[in-house]
């Protein structure tokens, strides 16, 4: 809630005053970016002239501007203006010294007094207190506290404090009201010559403890951005409370098979979509086997999905962008939560160290390994088997606010997925020890300060290390027989200058630097130089390769308000690379236009180029092709947004994307002039296109309901070489429908559903088989490539959550049921050895998950 800096006493309607009528008028006000109330509307009329008086008073309020992402923003707030009549003291309870009856009062004691003070400001404080939120102990600002018998109102300040001056001894009723909380009434006894201190605990009506109701465009430098607020992130059914998995239900993305966390954006490969945390790319999003994402939901502030036509500050990708903003640790005390479910337990805590310094930390660890043995098949007699999958992640963040409105933060994140499979069979005299691990960490710093005019400057370095290890050995062997060890060290640095240059011109510009070193250490049977390697017993040998990438980019996103209705957003990104010793570059201009035809309609269009460098290993002189060029895509689209009501949005867009120079695997062999041969491995011969349309119907967060329905129509085609035919790529799905809804009926309940429907993925039919007498098995005879479809996918997920609020903490229990109707969704087929019979490989059956979450 924004802090009220200046209130105004409403004029008590004379007729109502004469009739002795009181009222509480619920009102909704719109506060602009400088804190001025621009619009006020009564949400439930009470009549008798109270409504008009309340609107007139509210229009004179001044607030401290609300900030979103550190920038002033327009917000809507609901509050209540009370009209009370100071009653004459009665015997026994009469506060001595009470003023005469029939005196109308209003929100503040006097025009000169701060709003948290009520009564004669020069008088001693008789009653003071602090208003807290139940369950979180958060101090609440903007709460109207009324001393009913005296008709005095105070509005709590940023620390939740209120003060009543000069109140005579006696017993009073203290009322606390706020639109988002249940009204509190408690009896207070004030003695002679003493100040009384009290605490008021308020129960949130519906919202989650940390939520606030936010509207408005966070960023104007893009054409299509789908944002998810924190409150939309953790209670979507079927996502295990995973914020990032919610992104997969937005338009522009098609369904990933087996619940895997792949981001399949507008027909692109998963690797073509970048995932950024606070502006810096991270290598992976999810733990293995479609597990949870690698970041604790409490650490996430918001997620933006750019399915196409994204701003120039994002680059080196030609698919889409998922930008995760971590949550500042600002805290009025120590808070945290513990989340325990069937797969893992996570812990989160944040605290204020000093008034300027706040910190937060989170961690999660799985315990699948403790019960996996129960579902694995029994090993053969005398044999041994050990399967240990483990995942864990951790995050920490510190924020420091300088006096000059500059601020700094450090965010660190780490994740690990480890799997060990150990088995032995003494009878066969064989044993297997397979160990693998995928780990990464990032440390991201940020320093932001005003840069003059309306500009803010952000300097952000980041360092990270990613590693992937596979090793296979006999049990108790001294070292691996085969192994693969990849280490990637990344240093990145971003400078960003953003703000309004003039009233019509906004600029977001900066430098994006990337330094990356990849080291590959493998112990593998190398057969790349053999003319044939069929069944050859090649002993593994140690191979070490490394590749370095240096990328330097300059970008500028400009928003130019050409007319009142037309906004043009030209962008330019210049990328230069030195990868594996080769110089590459990409010049990517982009243009977005937005035209507001009326208050509710906006037409938008864009076209742009998006470059993406090859992976460094693809340029390797021995195992790659040093002649590779930069991949690029041309995005173009046309769409509209219609907001018929502040709670409803219809966002629709049609697009065409052409991807060129795609790096594709090649089996070609070239002969040089000396007669020797060399494999090509990779070429730039791949290309792809996507034609699609997306529609989002969204109900914004309100007290009880939010949700959306998204529909994605996609025709994607790709080919490996310039002479081959365009075919549907592996994840192509023509129709994808997602409906997400959440409803809070009250009493701490939150109910949710998610329904998904998507076209089955393209498949290649198997029409016959040939027995390969040289290998002793059958080879499938396949029909036209990806010419048939797997069955349509449908799944309904439901979730029920119950919150119990205690004074200092809260407890929630949830039941999340995936695939409620136990639909057998076919993801793939397995075939018998002659390819005559097949059996479906289905996605998850009905999968109930139970968990509890404690929060304080």
């Amino acid at each position: 809630m924004p802090v009220l800096l200046q209130s105004a006493a409403p004029i008590y309607p004379a007729s109502a005053l004469a009739a002795g009528k009181t009222a509480a008028v619920p009102i909704k006000i719109t506060i602009d970016a400088v804190g001025v109330v621009t619009h006020a509307v009564v949400t439930q009329a009470v009549g008798d002239g109270f409504d008009e008086a309340a609107v007139q008073a509210a229009l004179q309020y001044v607030f401290e501007p609300a900030e979103i992402d550190g920038k002033p923003a327009v917000i809507n707030v609901e509050t209540t203006i009370h009209f009370t009549i100071e009653v004459a003291p009665s015997e026994g309870v009469a506060p001595p010294g009470a003023t005469a009856a029939d005196t109308a009062t209003s929100a503040a004691a006097s025009p000169d007094a701060p709003p948290e003070h009520a009564g004669p400001i020069s008088a001693p404080i008789s009653l003071s207190g602090t208003v807290f939120e139940r369950g979180t102990r958060r101090k609440l600002a903007g709460v109207i506290v009324t001393l009913r018998e005296r008709g005095l109102d105070a509005t709590t300040n940023a620390d939740g404090a209120f003060f009543f001056h000069g109140v005579a001894a006696g017993e009073y009723e203290l009322l606390a009201t706020d639109a988002g909380y249940a009204r509190v009434a408690q009896r207070i006894a004030i003695g002679h010559n003493e100040g009384v201190q009290t605490a008021v605990w308020m129960r949130p009506l519906n919202a989650n403890p940390y939520e606030s109701m936010v509207e408005g465009e966070r960023e104007a430098l893009t054409v299509t951005k789908r944002s998810l607020h924190r409150s939309q992130l953790t209670t979507i059914p079927g996502t295990f409370g995973d914020p990032i998995r919610v992104v997969q239900s937005l338009p522009g993305l098609v369904r990933a098979p087996f619940g895997l966390g792949l981001l399949l954006v507008r027909g692109s490969n998963p690797d073509d979509t970048g995932v950024y945390i606070d502006g810096h790319e991270v290598p992976l999003l999810f733990h293995f086997l479609g597990g949870p994402s690698i970041i604790n939901p409490d650490m996430v502030g918001g997620i933006d999905l750019y399915p196409g036509g994204f701003p120039a500050r994002f680059g080196r990708k030609h698919g889409g962008v998922v930008a995760i903003d971590t949550r500042p640790t600002e805290s009025d005390g120590t808070h945290g939560d513990v989340n325990i479910n069937l797969l893992d337990t996570s812990v989160y805590a944040r605290t204020k160290v000093t008034p300027q310094l706040t910190v937060a930390a989170a961690g999660r660890r799985s315990y699948i390994d403790t019960f996996l043995w129960a579902v694995l098949p029994e090993p053969a007699p005398g044999a041994q088997q050990l399967v240990v999958p483990i995942y864990y992640d951790w995050q920490a963040r510190a924020d420091y606010r300088f006096a000059n409105t500059a601020k700094a933060s450090v965010f660190a994140i780490g994740s690990a997925d480890k799997l060990r499979v150990l088995s032995s069979d003494p009878d066969e005299q064989t044993s297997q020890d397979l160990s693998s691990a995928v780990r990464f960490f990032r440390v991201i710093g940020s320093y932001e300060r005003p840069a003059g005019r309306d500009l803010r400057l952000t300097l952000s370095p980041a360092y990270g290390r990613d590693s992937v290890v596979f090793a296979g050995a006999q049990a108790e062997a001294s070292g691996p027989f085969t192994s693969l060890d990849i280490v990637q060290q990344t240093f990145s640095y971003r400078t960003r200058l953003v703000g309004n240059l003039t009233k019509r011109l906004r600029l977001d510009t900066g430098i994006d630097l990337l330094s990356r070193v990849n080291q590959y250490r493998a112990r593998l049977p190398l057969t790349d130089d053999l003319v044939t390697d069929r069944g050859v017993d090649v002993p593994p040998e140690l191979v070490q390769r490394s590749a370095s990438t240096f990328g330097l980019a300059y970008y500028a996103d400009v928003a130019l308000q050409v007319t009142k209705r037309l906004r043009l957003l030209p962008s330019l990104r210049l990328d230069g690379y030195m990868i594996a010793g080769r110089l590459l570059g990409s010049i990517d201009p982009r243009l977005v236009a937005r035209f507001a035809t009326s208050g509710a309609w906006t037409i938008k269009a864009y076209v742009g180029r998006f470059g993406q460098p090859p992976q460094p290993e693809a340029l390797d002189s021995q195992l790659g092709n040093p002649g590779l060029k930069t991949e690029y895509a041309m995005h173009s689209g046309l769409g509209f947004e219609w907001r018929p009501h502040r709670l409803w949005l219809l966002d629709s867009e049609a697009y065409f994307i052409k991807r060129n120079n795609l790096v594709a695997f090649s089996r070609d062999i070239d002969q040089s002039s000396d007669g020797n041969f060399a494999r090509e491995f990779w070429t730039n011969d791949g290309s792809a296109y996507a034609i699609g349309a997306e529609t989002l119907i969204r109900r914004e967060i309100s007290k009880r309901v939010f949700g959306w329905t998204s529909y994605t129509f996609l025709i994607a085609r790709a080919r490996q070489t310039s002479s081959s035919t365009y075919r549907p790529p592996a994840f192509d799905q023509m129709h994808t429908l997602n409906t997400v809804a959440s409803y809070k009926p009250g009493a701490g309940w939150e109910l949710g559903l998610r329904f998904r429907l998507s076209t089955g993925r393209a498949d290649t039919p198997i029409v016959d088989a040939t027995y390969d007498a040289d290998r002793g098995n059958y080879d499938a005879v396949r029909g036209p490539q990806r010419s048939v479809r797997r069955p349509t996918f449908t799944q309904l997920d439901l979730r029920a959550e119950k919150n119990w609020l205690f004074q200092r903490w809260s407890l929630a229990g949830f039941l999340d049921v995936q695939n409620v109707f136990n639909q057998e969704n076919v993801e793939s087929f397995t075939y018998d050895y002659r390819f005559r019979k097949r059996a479906p490989v289905t996605s998850f059956p009905i999968l109930p998950t139970f968990g509890i979450r404690g929060r304080w």
Partner: protein, 343 residues
């Protein structure tokens, strides 16, 4: 395309998903021959090494050096006593390992064999590929389509089509084998020979963890040929296990060289594989031998035959066993034997 980590993580997930879903489906055991199937095709010789210039091969030199190749197939059908119609062609194979009728091929033969599982003596399904201009034309076509200009040799595909008599047009089955023709690179290259076993030994255990009986030599007798004169045939009871261990002929594992793209040669030793098949019961491993696995375990050659359950024992109490020995250079040989199983 982009950074390797997500791609590897994706592969990692898929591998795990495959691990979890590996139990999907319930299909016939490939090691158990239930109905009409091709089990093996051999060529003699399996490879011809020719002293020709691969960059400019001479037709005369080619025809002078080519020798006839005899191709034989092992086909079984324990489900019925019916003759089998067959046809054999050779060509430059397509992706389906078959001979497209739109391209050149040589018809090697066609005919009918008596029911292979029950007829004595065993009917031969064989054909011969003699040297000819047509064969040379196929080899030139193969060389032209080889990016390595036949540096590692070229292969022709033998297509065997077969079916129960009367069903050839409606339900043909196909099997294929490659014939290898290679220039003499390196200069000491010697043509591959088909692998050969000295014997197959067996030992019997009463149950899975019981001790093994002393190993004995397995008589290589077809079930159709079993009579009172056959001695030493394994006698098994339900629940017994029989360990089958091949004994390789001396020098069966040939050393050979493979040219590299840069003009060098790397030398290897053959790693033959053993495919085990039966008409009833099963094996602990359907395939043995081969190269070391990814964990460094050397390949074991033996497998354990598991008897069928009492209600699955064939009516005559006999189960056919085959082992097909293959090297990685298209060499192959098969052996057939028989075991008696008592309920």
């Amino acid at each position: 395309m982009n950074h390797m980590q997500p791609r590897i993580a994706f592969g990692f997930c898929l591998a795990l998903a495959a691990l979890v879903s590996a139990q999907c489906g319930s299909f016939e055991n490939p090691a158990v021959v239930l109905d009409l199937r091709a089990l093996a095709i051999t060529a003699e010789p399996p490879e011809q090494v020719l002293d020709i210039n691969p960059q400019a091969p001479s037709l005369d030199a080619l025809l002078d050096q080519l020798v006839p190749t005899k191709i034989c197939a092992l086909v079984a059908d324990p489900s019925r006593e019916a003759p089998i119609d067959w046809r054999m062609r050779v060509c430059v194979g397509n992706n389906d390992e078959r001979c497209a009728t739109t391209r050149a091929y040589i018809e090697l033969g066609a005919g009918q064999i008596a029911a292979p599982h029950t007829i004595t003596p065993a009917p031969a399904l064989c054909a011969e590929l003699p040297p000819s201009g047509a064969l040379a034309a196929l080899l030139f076509e193969a060389v032209q389509g080889d990016a390595l200009s036949s540096l590692g040799g070229v292969e022709l595909t033998v297509e065997l089509a077969f079916a129960t008599s009367g069903e050839f047009a409606s339900a043909p089955q196909y099997a294929s084998k490659k014939l290898v023709y290679a220039p003499r690179i390196p200069a000491d290259r010697v043509a591959n020979r088909n692998p050969e076993l000295t014997a197959i030994h067996y030992a019997i255990a009463a149950k899975a963890d019981a001790p093994w009986s002393p190993a004995q030599r397995l008589p290589l007798t077809r079930c159709a040929d079993v009579d009172a004169t056959v001695t030493g045939m394994p006698q098994l009871a339900v629940g017994n296990r029989m360990r089958l261990t091949p004994e390789e002929a001396p020098n069966m594992r040939e050393r050979y060289g493979i040219p590299t793209l840069s003009g060098d040669v790397r030398t290897f030793t053959e790693s033959p594989t053993y495919q085990w098949l039966t008409t009833a019961g099963g094996f602990t491993k359907r395939s043995t031998g081969g190269t070391r696995d990814a964990f460094g375990n050397p390949a074991t050659l033996f497998t354990d035959f598991k008897t069928p359950s009492a209600d699955e024992i064939p009516a005559n109490g006999l189960a056919s066993l085959w082992v097909v020995v293959r090297d990685e250079r298209r060499g192959a040989t098969w052996y057939e034997t028989c075991v008696r199983i008592a309920p």
